[in-house]
Amino acid sequence: MSLESFVEEARRIVGPRWVLVETWSLAGYAIDYWPLLVYRALRDPRGALSRGPAAAVLPGSEEEVAALLEAAQRFGVRLAVYAGGSGVLGGAVPDEGWVVLDVARLDWVDWFDEEAGIVDAGAGAPLAEVEGWLNRRGWTLRHYPQSLPEARIGGLVATRSTGQYSTGYGGIEERVKGLHAAVPGVGLVRVKPSPRRSVLPPLEQLFTGSEGLLGVITRVYLEALPLPECELRVHWRPGSFREALGEARSLAQRRLAPDLYRIYDEQEAPVALGVEGPAAIGVYEGPCRVARARLEAAAELISSRVEVEEGEGPASRWLRERFNVIASIARLLEIGLAFDTIEFSAPWGSAARVYEAARSAALSVEGVAYVGVHASHFYPSGVALYMTFAFDAGRLEEVYGAVWDRVMRAVSSAGGSISHHHGIGRMRLPYLKLELGEEGARLVARIKRALDPQGILRGFPL
């Protein structure tokens, strides 16, 4: 095992300028956007940034990625794959002595098949640039996660991300039609794009959500759609969050849910939408007549009056402000509060129970000042719930872990799934068995060992 030999070999593979070893060039990799690390970095920047990797390598081609994996195996070096660093659970953070493999230079975007709307994007292509490139040509991915301004394509696929329009358009897994991934000891696996195939379990889905543990995604073939002709913004006021969940079930099961659909409990509605009490907002898209017809059919299933926004309204306000997280972060910082979010999902039969259990669990931790919940992704069989909790930043270490621990256990006990779209990262690793069971967790650990027997990709955290 020799880090020095790996660095020398990496310089030969990618060129000396793309191997970073200076302290100032590595410090930024010490944290991703895991709030625990971000708040620690605010309290003790020197300490937080001193835990950077031993080196960072930025390959410029897929072949270079494969060669780097081969070199890492040869020299026994562990790699942390970095693709934007917008993850919120520490999945991109290296341990001491690891090398970061940053895919930022794999940032191309082009058509693979314009007629099919299949776009060929490098793993390092920023989502915002891919979407802008498509929009200029009349197309869209309609994949708008909160991290749209920050995320890169490979990172989104590796965490099995969803977006604000995923109720209508599905998560990233539905957009991925093929991909390339470099796998230790195997080389560059090229899964060509296909609308659907039945050739054993789909390999592209093996890497979708693999969080840099099984291989390095280098290229993704994504299915785009023509930009919608019309957009109808709506809002309404359910009597309670429980009632709103009932309406959502009814709409989702009849395929009448808005393409963008969010319901807020009475704690979060004032913060997010500026209205009192529980509230729902939505956007119907598509050909104008179809969007209008879906809205009219949906309105018949909703007990309160559905308002279509011509000008300003809660939906329009939310759409305008949706990526402006820094204003809230700054406001909270200045009054000494920190915050984080926890997302989870539940089948309809247990959704209300999971909501109550998670809320109570978070509120039971001393130091928690606020808990609000919204639901933002709806399926015929269930819903994703998204909890925001704010707490005394001065008690970060005692409060943060306690909230996560109690919420994870409460969600699982009440019948929910511990994660909907943020993935596992480092924060959720201790709770993997709650979700997959003893045997399921053993199986994923075995898959990991089969694909990466030396553990060069983030070791053996499973």
């Binding site: 990799y29 971000v38 020197r46 402006n324 820094i326 910082l333």
Partner: protein, 285 residues
């Protein structure tokens, strides 16, 4: 929320807490892919450097002070201003750097070129009828970005042509008539036309009136090269990387720029680039 102007540490903390909403607007990060250049990451590094972390201060050269991050930030947090203050604090006691115009030759009224690039001998012929001077800006600009005050000296009654958009304008006030190079070409009565296949670079630091003039001179390439500020001097290899994005946009065509730092970085990245004045003495990139 109150403005962060005048409170650099607060501006750094807010930026450090952000997921990086503005990051792809930064020409240095987007052009170089250096993680440390992403504005929110740079803010974290600056905080650590101010706490005395060894080996981090150099990263503060990575901002070119183009202001793109401030424009992209939903709350317009002034990170460049905060980094300027952080650099000054890391540098310790602010100094004064004096820079003097050096005579190059020719006769007539004094004409001073303020630029990091020394005009060659043939510049004297191209600007005949003037006594030509060079005000070397390189070291003064470096000191300026690290907190020093710059004082310039030039012959009385000079006409000063500025091709360094990073050189502090206030250091030239009172020394004579100050012109940016596109203005100077007209004012000196030179019949200047853009070379055949050229693009006119409209840099991010050009004041609005200069921008309008540049747009009227030919096909405009409006983008920050990512090469100015402390980066061009402190880390020229990364300035060249940052400029490679603009070089790709130029697609092999000659870029004529009023910013000498952009010309230097574009050339280092393999692009064809000249300043306006350089085209007078035969530069074709």
């Amino acid at each position: 929320m109150e403005s962060t102007a005048g409170d650099p540490e607060r501006a750094l903390r807010i930026c450090a807490a952000c997921p990086g909403i503005c990051q792809y607007s930064c020409p240095v990060y987007r052009g170089s892919n250096l993680r440390s250049a992403a504005p929110h990451v740079l803010a974290r590094i600056a905080l650590a450097a101010l706490q005395g972390s060894p080996g981090l201060g150099e990263a503060l050269n990575l901002c070119v002070h183009c202001g793109e991050c401030v424009r992209a930030c939903p709350i317009h947090n002034d990170l460049p201003g905060a980094l300027m203050a952080a650099r000054a604090r890391l540098a310790g006691e602010a100094g004064v750097v004096r820079v003097e115009a050096r005579p190059l030759g020719g006769s007539g009224e004094p004409l001073v070129v303020a630029s990091p690039i020394e005009p060659p001998g043939r510049a004297i012929d191209a600007l005949s009828g003037w006594r030509l001077y060079w005000l070397p800006t390189r070291e003064a600009v470096r000191a300026y970005w690290w907190g020093s005050r710059v004082e310039a000296q030039a012959p009385e009654g000079s006409t000063i042509i500025v091709e360094d958009l990073d050189f502090p304008r206030e250091a030239l006030e009172g020394l004579g008539r100050i012109l940016y190079s596109p203005e100077a070409l007209d004012a000196l009565g030179l019949q200047w036309r853009p070379p055949g296949d050229s693009l006119i670079h409209v840099p991010c630091k050009a004041p609005e009136e200069l921008r309008s003039r540049l747009r009227g001179l030919g096909e405009a390439l409006e983008a920050c090269s990512g090469a100015g500020g402390p980066l061009g001097l402190g880390m020229p290899e990364y300035a060249a990387q940052a400029a490679s994005r603009l070089a790709r946009e130029a697609g092999g065509r000659l870029v004529v720029t009023p910013c000498a730092w952009a010309a230097l970085a574009l050339r280092a990245s393999g692009a064809r680039a000249c300043t306006f004045l350089e085209t007078l003495w035969g530069c074709r990139g």
